[in-house]
Symmetry: C2
């Protein structure tokens, strides 16, 4: 908790200030809808204050983590905003995790409070609670009795007298790990407010916007829009999970303007609404199958017209937007508040056309991962956030995302990223799958070796594939040798590069084992 | 100048970062057009670096003031951005001021550098320079020789190695004074960037936007849009001053999407373009007379539909927007980043419906006035910026601006504070007392009328007094008419302005039922 003395009240703009502002400037506008609950901004502010006072009375203070082990609900928004008011960190966790996965998160986050849900998640949540891994207080948010959320709320609805700096973390989101365990990205008030405001601009969100929160709020992809709606003074409607008919009922009944709907759900909606009994015209969304497009309103916001870009949880969602870039072929440009660069592993800034690690700086960049000091030092070297993703800047300054950074192959002084060579190989019509490893070379440090799976009934020689690469990428990146296999070994869904190294003599990687790969 | 150690590079987003970002992300896009000069963002960044190195070599450092005594020009933008890179404060001053007024500003600002202009302003600028009031280096921006701007630029176009915190001031704008002398409002990097981004959202400004800078850039009203265009990566076109035919030529030739055009200029444009020789359809602006509306494209952005609100220089322009408020009758709501309240003189927060002083906090609030410690303590009491304006919050949370604590006379875009003209009149040896009111004018909103009591045994004509003012204050502030009375009506100890209005036809004050309230 930060004392008032260290907070610049005159210029302060925390997430709590967003709520305070709306409670003052649009007190009667609807902030949240969830089942039978409808909350104006004034009413939401009161409930958030009651939760904040309860947290303070329970000894919750600055930097303490509050876990949300539940589905979408207005109480999730209240928990986030109460964390904002008391200086705590709110963390919505993946409710589809196994007990062991959830137990890892509980131990890692070491929360002061866990808000948990009986419906759908009860057995796993209770199992983890009963393991006694933390001193957290477990509060059932959908419980009616003494241990429940509503009983926990304080009667005191006044503004709590805590000054919280906007630079402090208020949200933690676990990123999926490619290898090893997930990490909790700590995102500041300012990151949330800045990204929320910009997403609102890109998506055309205003105070009239009603967002249906049906996507999983432990993912930044849908959380960005929730924030855009909150920052704009719009209405967030919550439903526990995706259910096509319930979505239709809510879009129709609440005149929702936005929703996070994936293609399989679109198909279900087309089927159940052939008779047009639900009016979905309020929904501004992407076009799709003709029946879908006829039911909804095609979104002509900048994002609606070009809904793509590059991003990661560590920058609170989108980092570049195709809507800010050229028409085709790249992943667009960053907003003015995010600077972007390309660096090679020693920190040298690379010029247009050169592939390296994407680095960014700006107010949406995370404060760091919870409890990972060494990793943070590495990822924040030189005052840039090292994304662990590969990309290049085109001549027009737009970004092309190449892929996640895995191992680096070194040939003489040149850095070669396997994914770039793999993408090139996969573009050959005869190639079904490909992986690239480095094999030791006494003169050049390493040589590139490709391991290729051919498509059924297709053929290509090693020479064909090497020549294919020579014509398309820098010559030093082309494979020196090619092995053909029936299938690539996998570790989970990812290629098992260690197995490939063992089988085909890979090794000699620079900084071996130093690379952490996480993104979602 | 701030050392790198105190700047959070990872999350930093200064005005200089906006330029660096665009130079990287859209290097070839046109940033500025001025006469024959066309600068891409990459070229602008290079020229800004050359100016920054020249300033550093001249010993200019953190917090030093750089005065711009000139009209609109791409070099004004370069000066602002070079200030951003070296940690200095750029101050565009009113070039229509008298020598005495300008001299006051030069003494008050105590600048390290004055960029001045020979064309139109030369005699006044040289007179003030030659008074030797400051140790400033005077650089003629439109001079070709050794003492000129282009000769001053360094050959070094590399990025200067100075870390500047976004919380530091980068812009100073003098506000007209209610009492005595004007004050320089110090506005931070963050204030400029935050307001620029929001104005862009309200005005529909994107990278495709081309803004014609024809309004006076020592006014925040037009500077806001310049910033919105810069933050969005659009094009700023500069022209020294309002000239209807030149405006038409530039709108047509550069396909300008925005411009600051007042009604008298619209009338001139209607007249000179009856034959349609200039194509002005690219201009998105407010509708007007039928001939005007037919020539341009009606702006349907949120701002275009509701171009009003409340603001002041001290919050970098607009503080509330009608576009965020109810349809009619108030001055709208603030953006999410600005909190607003109403206080009585002892600091008590007032509820809806009660009139008091408007107070605000948020990142667009000025850091304070240059060199006014007592006034700053008063205006920043309790961590709120006290606006010196009166208002009330309605039941729906929107703000109604009631008026400045003294009245304001509006002549075209210019604000005229009665007390300033009154002080000038009272300095005339024949004048015992004087009061100034505004009388409605169909073209200029209001005209200044003086009501004067002569000293016993003294005489002066109306022409004498108008000429006396013309020599001492900006020409637009001088009375257009003078009435002589035996004594001024009083309400208590103060002049009864309402009685003067009733007797001499005063009225039409901004804020008194005016549609468009924008003051500085």
């Amino acid at each position: 908790m930060t004392g008032p003395g260290s907070v610049d009240l005159l210029h302060q703009h925390s997430l709590a200030d967003v709520l305070r502002g709306h409670a003052g400037s649009r007190p009667g506008d609807t902030a949240a809808v969830c089942g039978d609950v409808r909350l104006s901004y004034a009413a939401l502010d009161e409930r958030v204050n009651r939760l904040a006072h309860a947290l303070l009375a329970a000894g919750t203070g600055g930097g303490d983590r509050l876990l949300w082990v539940g589905q979408n609900c207005h109480r999730l928004l209240e928990g986030l905003l109460a964390a904002a008011k008391v200086g705590a960190v709110f963390c919505p966790v993946n409710w589809r995790q196994s007990a062991d996965e959830l137990a890892f998160v509980v131990e890692d986050a070491d929360p002061a409070v866990v808000f948990w849900q009986e419906a759908e998640i009860g057995p796993v949540a209770r199992e983890v609670r009963d393991r006694g891994l933390s001193k957290a207080r477990w509060i059932q948010h959908d419980g009616e009795d003494e241990g429940g959320y509503e009983a926990f709320l304080s009667d005191d609805a006044t503004e709590p007298a805590v000054a919280v700096a906007e630079t402090e973390a208020v949200l933690m989101m676990y990123t999926a790990a490619f290898t090893g365990s997930p990490n909790g990205a700590l995102l500041s008030h300012r990151a949330l407010v800045t990204q929320g405001a910009f997403v609102a601009q890109m998506m055309g969100i205003t105070a009239d916007y009603t967002y249906l929160n049906c996507g999983p709020l432990f993912h930044v992809a849908t959380f960005m829009t929730t924030l855009g709606t909150l920052v704009s003074g719009g209405t967030n409607v919550f439903t526990p999970r995706v259910d096509a008919e319930e979505l239709c009922r809510l879009i129709d009944g609440e005149r929702c303007t936005g929703a996070f709907v994936m293609p399989p759900t679109m198909d279900q909606i087309i089927e159940l609404n052939t008779d047009g009994r639900f009016d979905l015209k309020s929904l501004r969304t992407f076009p799709g199958k003709p029946e879908w497009t006829a039911m909804v309103t095609v979104d002509d916001s900048p994002w609606g017209r070009k809904p793509a870009g590059y991003g990661q949880t560590e920058v609170m969602g989108m980092g570049t937007f195709n809507a800010l870039g050229p028409s085709l072929g790249t992943h667009g440009r960053p907003p003015a508040f995010l600077r972007i660069g390309i660096m090679d592993p020693d920190g040298t800034v690379l010029g247009p056309g050169e592939t390296g690690e994407i680095v960014v700086r700006g107010p949406t960049v995370m404060n760091g991962y919870h409890n990972r000091p060494e990793l943070n030092a590495e990822r924040q070297a030189g005052g840039w956030h090292h994304t662990n993703d590969l990309g290049r800047l085109e001549e027009d300054g737009s970004l092309s995302f190449v892929g996640p950074r895995t191992r680096l192959i070194k040939s003489a002084a040149e850095n070669i990223y396997p994914i770039e060579v793999e993408n090139c190989l996969k573009a050959h019509p005869a190639v079904a799958d490909a992986a690239v490893i480095g094999v030791p070379d006494p003169t050049w440090t390493q040589n590139v070796k490709a391991v290729v799976v051919l498509r059924a009934g297709q053929s290509a020689t090693a020479e064909d594939l090497v020549e294919h690469c020579r014509e398309r990428i820098a010559s030093y990146k082309k494979p020196k040798s090619v092995e053909f296999v029936d299938e690539l070994p996998k570790a989970g869904w990812a290629v098992d590069y260690d197995a490939l190294d063992a089988r085909f003599g890979g090794g000699g990687y620079p900084g071996a084992g130093a690379f952490h790969v996480e993104k979602d």
